[in-house]
């Protein structure tokens, strides 16, 4: 046990490798939120009136709402008046191409290994990089445009495709859906917009890298992906934030719409700063992600690897509205030190013969708390619907916790719901066994953890699978003795 405690202390010493701050002048609003701030954001973004009204409606609703307290999270109340709601890198004239982008920004991306240049490592991946609140550059636009795919920052979409925004914005996650979604709806500054036209298979993986930079700013991005009838898209989202003492709030909203026979695959690797060994600093990640399988035979698949953030509160969900729709949720959530995660999914079965699969893997080390919370709901209309849920927890050391909260509401007698759950500990036995075969402790932990996560990792696109595996290894370095 003594050596285990020592090793737990060792993890604490590991450095957060993305903890650098880019020194550029930011155009930042003073802290605080009121209607003027909302108007100001909308005006700065030169938005049409429907957007301003939409934001104001959200803000008025948010004022009447309370932050949810049901999650198994231990946090101090957040002072929403102490946060600045807009931070944009100071523009000279607005970059038209990569050459005009602030070299320091590019350097930041370089450190993160984001392939902004078209010749970069991940050729074939189009990146819409969100730096604080403004989209810096979008690659591959031309090639995508040829396929009729729209992939741009949310701000641009508001200017160039207002009719699509008006039609779909808030149609999956309404403004008043929950406290954080309402806040996001009022003050969101940017994000990504994707539209895949009817019958089109998106010619490449789309990718957005989010990164929070300015201190004391919340990041409220908004992503909207619409897959028209018979289309197909795979979207990757990666996140990293610099290291700071104070906590930063991140309240994003992601909406997915899949029309008939459309498929959306959404993958996330989240590696935000988790705070230090005393639980100081780190990102508060309160995210609402929801997909609507609106048309028959449509499919939405969420895959997430959640390794960072001080607090993670997110439940990527599927509304299986159409008949024969498919919803999937594959999740690995890793918590270490004082990190807390309350994450899971909701599968709302409305359509007949809709099917859903939930595979959740939670890993806790240090003093972290990791909760799976999932809802499977079968409406009376969901004849023949099926769900399979598997929830596995892995504990490292003896000071962490794993919790499972499965909710099931079954209103159709022909629906079938299966739930399996396991909790295991990376045993001293397993480690000793590997070490006795000559494998070092570090390699043994990596091997065991990756084995545990295999069912989820194999759902990730290739580039992400490798990154996720590396991330896991770094996150849990020395976590067990």
């Amino acid at each position: 046990m003594a050596s285990q405690q020592q090793d737990v202390r060792d993890i604490v010493d590991r450095k957060y490798t993305h903890g650098f701050v880019t020194d550029i002048e930011s155009d930042t609003l003073p802290p605080g939120i009121n209607e003027d701030v909302v108007r100001h954001i909308s005006a700065m973004k030169n938005e049409p009136e429907f957007m301003l009204n939409w934001r104001l409606k959200a803000f008025r609703q948010w004022q009447k709402m309370k932050a949810p307290e049901w999650a198994k999270l231990n946090l101090e109340p957040i002072d929403y008046q102490a946060i600045s709601y807009y931070s944009a890198p100071k523009k000279k004239d607005g970059p038209k191409s990569l050459d005009e982008v602030d070299p320091k920004l590019l350097e930041t991306y370089e450190k993160l290994g984001i392939p902004l240049h078209e010749r970069a490592r991940l050729a074939g991946v189009a990146v819409d990089a969100v730096f604080d609140s403004v989209s810096v550059t979008t690659t591959f636009k031309t090639k995508l445009a040829e396929a009729g795919v729209i992939f741009c920052s949310f701000s641009e979409a508001v200017q160039d495709h207002p009719e699509l925004i008006e039609q779909y914005l808030g149609s999956v996650v309404p403004q008043r859906d929950n406290f954080f979604a309402a806040l996001n709806s009022a003050v969101f500054t940017d994000g990504s917009f994707v539209y895949i036209p009817k019958g089109v298979r998106c010619p490449m993986e789309l990718s957005t890298y989010f990164r929070i930079n300015a201190a004391n700013t919340g990041q409220f991005e908004r992503t909207l992906i619409v897959a028209a009838e018979g289309s197909h898209v795979s979207y990757l989202e990666g996140c990293t934030a610099p290291q700071r003492d104070e906590n930063q709030l991140h309240a994003a909203v992601v909406e997915l719409v899949a029309e008939a026979d459309a498929t959306i695959k959404y993958s996330t690797v989240q590696n935000w700063y988790p705070g230090d060994e005393n639980g100081r600093g780190g990102i508060y990640n309160f995210v609402t992600k929801r997909g609507d399988c609106r048309g028959d035979r449509s499919k939405i698949s969420w895959t997430q690897v959640e390794a960072g953030s001080a607090i993670t509160w997110k439940y990527p969900s599927c509304i299986l509205r159409g008949a024969d729709t498919v919803g999937e949720f594959y999740s690995v959530a890793v918590t270490n030190n004082h990190q807390q995660a309350d994450t899971g999914t909701k599968m709302i079965h409305i359509g007949a013969n809709s099917r859903s699969t939930i595979i959740s893997k939670g890993i806790s080390a240090g003093r972290a708390q990791n909760a799976y919370r999932g809802l499977v709901k079968m409406f009376p209309t969901a004849s023949g619907a099926r769900n399979y849920t598997q929830c596995d927890s892995l504990l490292m050391g003896n000071q962490c916790g794993a919790h499972t909260f499965p909710y099931m509401e079954i209103k159709n007698p022909t629906a079938i719901v299966e739930h399996e759950a396991t909790t295991s500990k990376i045993g001293d036995d397993q480690l000793f066994y590997c070490k006795q075969r000559g494998i070092s402790e570090e390699d043994a932990v990596n091997m065991i953890v990756n084995g545990f996560c295999k069912d989820v990792f194999r759902e990730l696109p290739m580039e992400f699978a490798v990154e996720a595996q590396n991330l896991m290894n770094v996150s849990l370095e020395g976590a067990v003795g």
Binding site: I439, I448, G451, F452, G481
Partner: protein, 250 residues
């Protein structure tokens, strides 16, 4: 000398289990340690392999003339010490073949050899799995995941055959095996006897020794070796039971 254990004392959780044990093993020798339950047999195996919580309070263990005790378990393994577990551990999601390759390459690296290539590795695996009569499908299964007791034990010896240690400790490898499986396991061990490699067989029953003929047999009781002899001693134990020998020894 391969192994030289001198006046070894080992405590587990504050209780002394091994109380002044002496044992010397020369290269190529097979030693069997027999004894009643609770005599300290498995404690000896775990101590030699370097398991946590087995605290050496006095005495020394030299392996090839160098102090073994300061080494971590993985360092001991890479130096050629192998333990066949009494209760092999399951590692879900990690395939046998993956772990074996990692283990083999760790050992090769320690010996200053290059990592084995895939073709060479698969050839080796095929050869050794045939020796142990293990179905090839087990390679892609999780480590010991869903294995029967007999399969687990055969897997241990299979791993030993693959890693080719210099000193192998077999902790009750015969327990839970039917006679056919016992023969396969014994055959695997005998195929590894080359005049250089040393073996320490830990067993409760004489039966194993019918198939793996030891050079020396020791009786362990109350943390000490109370009698040593040849294979004859094992037969005597089988005929008379431990009580008589222990009574005579004490």
């Amino acid at each position: 000398m391969l192994i030289d254990i001198d006046n070894l004392h080992v405590s587990v959780g504050g209780t002394e289990i091994i109380k002044g044990l002496n044992l010397q093993i020369q290269p190529g020798e097979v030693h069997a340690i027999m004894g009643p339950n609770g005599s300290g047999k498995s404690t000896l195996a775990n101590t030699l392999a370097g398991r946590d919580d087995y605290e050496v309070t006095a005495g020394s263990v030299l392996y090839k003339g160098a102090d073994l005790l300061p080494l971590e378990p993985d360092e001991r393994a890479r130096a050629g010490v192998f333990l066949s577990f009494q209760y092999p551990v399951e590692i879900p999601g990690v395939t046998n073949v993956y772990m074996l390759k990692a283990a083999l390459n760790a050992r090769r690296k320690a010996l200053g050899e290059d990592e084995i290539d895939s073709v060479g590795f698969m050839r080796l695996v095929r050869e050794k799995s045939e020796l142990m009569q293990l179905d090839k499908s087990f390679l892609s299964r999780g480590v010991n995941e869903g294995f029967s007791g007999g399969e687990k034990k055969r897997n241990e010896i299979f791993q030993m055959a693959l890693l080719e240690p210099d000193f192998a400790i077999l902790d009750e490898t015969d327990s839970g095996l039917d006679i056919d499986a016992l023969k396969v396991v014994a055959n695997g061990v005998n195929s590894q006897r080359d005049g250089e490699r040393g073996f320490l067989l830990i067993t409760h029953y004489q039966r194993l020794l019918d198939y793996i003929r030891p050079d020396f047999v020791h009786v362990l009781a109350n943390g000490q070796i109370v009698r040593s002899g040849t294979h004859e001693l094992a037969l005597e134990l089988e005929a008379n039971g431990y009580d008589e020998i222990l009574a005579a020894a004490l």
